[in-house]
């Protein structure tokens, strides 16, 4: 995707968000029943911000058109596989595992999987592969145990 297209798509998204914010502010309870000053209604600033975001979105759209000649690609210079694996591992850990399994187990599983996946070298010798698994295991045990002790016993946090 190039920057022009990305800017245009985000301009549309921001315009919609701004509009939603402005409408949300306009329709927000004006607390007349509490006899507040009309200039201090809670929806005032959201309305202003919504309008400003719409204006900025329009400027962004126009600038995207103007900058067409020196267009640059975005989301390049990176690896989608690495990003996908990282996003999957982190999201599964933060959204699913934490709160479902005891913290020490969820952390151990996450750190081991992450370290093992990214330190694994396809085609490397058995020794090197065993070393990366052992390294991941040691890191997982140390991190899970260390953070659990630190937060539970030192900071007195009730772990998830």
């Amino acid at each position: 995707m190039n920057m022009t297209l990305a800017d245009r798509l985000t301009a549309i998204a921001f315009a919609a968000l701004g509009l939603a914010m402005a409408v949300g502010g306009y329709t927000m309870d004006r607390l007349e029943i509490r006899r507040i000053h009309p200039a201090s209604i809670p929806g005032l600033v959201p309305m202003i911000l919504g309008v400003l975001l719409v204006i900025c979105a329009v400027v962004l759209w126009r600038e995207a058109r103007a900058a067409n000649s020196e267009d640059a690609a975005i989301f390049k210079d990176g690896s989608w596989t690495r990003l996908g694996l990282t996003a999957a591992a982190t999201l599964i850990y933060a959204i699913v595992l934490v709160g479902w399994l005891p913290f020490i187990w969820s952390t151990g599983i996450f750190v081991f999987s992450f370290a093992a996946i990214f330190s694994w070298r396809e085609g490397a010798g058995r020794g090197a592969q065993a070393k990366s698994i052992a390294g991941a295991l040691m890191l997982a045990v140390a991190t899970a145990w260390g953070t659990s002790i630190l937060f539970r016993d030192v900071f007195l946090v009730r772990l998830p």
Binding site: A39, S40, T86, L91, A94, V98, F103
Partner: protein, 507 residues
Amino acid sequence: MSALTDLFAALVGLMTPGMIFHAAWATLLGIVIGSLPGLTATMGVALMTTLTYSLDSTAAILVLICMYVGAIYGGSRSAILLNIPGTPASAATSLDGYPLAKQGRAGYAMGLATAGSMLGTLVGIVLLVMIAPPLAEAALNFGSFEFFWLAVFGVVISGQLTADSTPVKGYIAGILGLMVAMVGSEGIHAHVRFNFGLSDMNAGIGLIPAMVGAFGFAEVLNAMWGRAGILATAKDKSDRILPELIDLWRYKVTIVRSGVIGTLVGIIPGVGEDIGAWASYVAARRTSKEADRFGKGSHEGLTAAETGNSAVVPGSLIPAITLAVPGSASSAVLIAALFIHGIRPGPLIMIEQPQFISSVAAMLILATLFMGFYGLTLTRAFVQVLRVPYAYLMPVVFVLCVIGTYALSQRIFDIWVMVFFGLAGFVLRQMKYPMAPLVLGIILGDLLDKSLRRGLTLSDGDLTPFFTRPVSLAFVVLIAVSILANFSFVRRRVSGLLRRKREERDA
């Protein structure tokens, strides 16, 4: 004189074994975090905030300041050795540091960077002690009208100066931050806004989860997305690491100028260390007698960049402490940490805790001393730190992001907030939206909202006082000039007018 006495007393007060121990480990950890590409100073300070909840307030703030100073300095290690700035603040350092390393003088370059950073921080500390108390006193006269424009000015100027491509992206980031601040119970009538039926959102979006997401999780994604850097270091043939005093004396003007520029850049809301370094570097090149050596291993260029970025740290604390308006993204986290530890930054700081500015200056001095010690003694050891693979580093960072955000209120919801801001931060950064205005918007949203509505209530709905009070008017002019300067037709018109004036005068 009284400021010096206060500073000395504060320094003596910090000289307990416990405080020295905290300063020692926090500065070292900061240098390590800063030197690792992919881990930034803001991320370090945000994560450390979550680890210092249980410390007493002085120790916690000392740890955070040492982490901040250490991380900004630490970025120079990888900038010099790998040509990869450890933090954005060190981008200018790599221009002359890496060529020096390639010439086999990495040790000397790091020594020079250490000296520059120390001197820059010291210049900033002097200005902090000089500027902060009168600024806080002046801010005591600020009313709702002035605070409203101060908040607007912060977001506008930060958006303007930190945007990579076009200022509108900076403005959008700022507005998005302000919108985030609109979620939850508002500060005047306690009316809950935009909670979408979720009771967890009644208290609003926490700054720490948002910051840990935008600077922690987003950095993890960013680091794993990018191609892994090749950690190859040039062999060091430096005969000495300690910089020659004659070198430092020769560049005394550059050092003082860069220190002052860095501090002033730090004072501007939301404009961080990277801009301080670039501004100092450009000013040094413009005035240098050996400008042709810049970019090829110039000692002066390296000194200017490092002095400039380090001076931003004390500079950014000036508005953070006196106005509760952060001078950089890291100082935004520091403001949140101050609130957590019961310290209320803002104009009342000189009344409620008159010694606080001296204490912060003393903490900065302690951090600078440790920075110098580590910088000159552990130069070669840092090379080993840079070899830690992301596969082992990033999962640990993410675990700290998760448990750190959870620990503050012990709510799973905060973890979701962190994840949301991490994903949003990654996408926005890829699309060249700066993060500093977003953070500034989140922190200034409440001030802006309350000041506008309070001001309107006081003036019975009349907008005039927002434009006629002297300080308000000054802010309005500054904001208008910075926004209008973006439009080419305005720039053309102004330069045309100036040219005509000059011609008339010549004629």
